[in-house]
């Protein structure tokens, strides 16, 4: 129990950010028309590609001799970028379709 409280205290700012972000996430969606569910999902998919930042940090911190770490890091950067770029581009294409309303 005390360990949990201690963990909480040490990371209290982070935890606040998490809780607030949950509210923001829920509120931001609100009432979205069914037509936009897929693009929205796809856009959110692109955003969690931010995990690539973690992969970059792994690489930046890795010893230039630790080949396994570097190899895995490289793959992680590649996959993360795939997520980001593919995600945004696909979303844009979907939305482009909807644009043709005139």
């Amino acid at each position: 129990m005390n360990e949990i409280i201690e963990f909480f205290t040490q990371h209290k700012d982070m935890i606040f950010i998490v809780v607030l972000m949950v509210f923001v996430g829920v509120e931001v969606i609100g009432k979205v028309p069914a037509v936009l569910h897929t693009p929205l999902m796809s856009g959110a998919n692109a955003i969690h590609g931010v995990v690539v930042v973690g992969a970059i940090i792994v690489m930046l911190n890795s010893e230039p001799t630790n080949y396994i770490a570097m190899g895995l890091g490289f793959i992680a950067v590649f996959l993360g970028t795939l997520n980001v770029v593919g995600g945004f581009v696909v979303t844009d294409r979907m939305l482009e379709m909807f644009k043709k309303k005139k």
Partner: protein, 462 residues
Amino acid sequence: MNLDIIHIIYLFASVTFILGLKMLSNPKTARNGNILAAVGMIAAIFGTIFFHEGEVSNVIYGLIFGGIGLGTVVGWLTAKRVQMTKMPELVSLFNGMGGACAALIGLVEFHHNLDNPTNIAIILAGMIIGSVSFSGSIIAWAKLNGTLKNAIRLPKYNILNTLILIGLFVYSAYIVWSGTYSEAHLYGLFTAAILYGILFVIPIGGADMPVVISLLNSFTGLAAAFGGFLYGNQVMLTGGILVGSAGTLLTLVMCEAMNRPLFNVIFGAFGDGDTAQAAGGVSQGTIKEVGPSDLAVQMNYSNKILIVPGYGLAVAQAQHVIKELEQLLEDRGVEVAYAIHPVAGRMPGHMNVLLAESNVDYDKLKEMEDVNPEFSQTDLVLVVGANDVVNPAAKTDSTSPIYGMPILEVENAKHVVVNKRSMNAGYAGIQNELFFRDKTNMLFGDAKKVLTELVNELKALD
């Protein structure tokens, strides 16, 4: 240069994510929202690289830019080349890549945090969620893709899955508390998580995949957030949690639109190929058929026709033919519009995306609430590859699995023509009484083939 500037960049990026997502939920601003979030993402990525403290060897820079470059080219090309109707699977695939990225980060960071049980816990959590999201997404992709046709169900799969899930928990808790941070345990856990992802998604019916993808999407968000927690990295934390919470809500909203609780999606109630097949054969009366030539004449003399597109239209890739049909009919003075059910097809907005591809006028796509009162003034309704969304059982039969789902009330029109290949059931795996009604005629055959014939007949009429 002050390296601390990165925190301002991260704040900026977080704000673009929030605003971007907000804008994405409004048709007018959606596209700009996507671009805004992309700008924030670029800032976050390059900010991380350029404002890094400490020496970094050129090899590593090379690998980073190599990874980014390769990822950009492959991602861009795939995204640009894929067919409109294959987009859901692609989203799933990209989602899996994000999950894999999170899992790999965990695999590497594990070794750097052997002295810190809290960090190990965070790393394992991110790694497990990322792995589940990765393997689950790949299965979802294979299912939507058709590579993996049927729902594969091990005996007592629900119990099995729950046991594996509990096992994962217990195993990782054991690792963290016991302090036995060995390579073997790490990869054991990794393998178990991958396995769980597969077993979690594989029994779920292909048609439920959009919901599953949305769920896995929020999983990946969560995995990214764990990474953010680990590094104290704000942008990963906020971006991840944002997607985690918004994604969860979106999943629930999608379930609601299909009138299907999330629990049923995961633990299976209908929607798997087998039941559909089984129920498909049962007939409830006599049906009447109509051929393309007769239908062409009938359409020619109608004043107002409503087209109800469904999943079959997407399967048959008949969106261009139907646009041609619409054009021909309009040239002949027939008023034509499309009645769009919110969950027609296999992903929300499926029909809109599909029809937009063939340049159907946006104003011709009428939403369910607006179009339902119009059916009574309609001469003919042409249902193309739709089934559940026009099933009257949703209104009348309280024992039906789709009971309570709002439907398109096509039975109010003067005539109903239904095009599908057979009497097989749709997604919900139930028979449709509408097909046996007096005013209904069936037009059997693949949508693309039959509609092409119909178009030719219409042209021949002059």
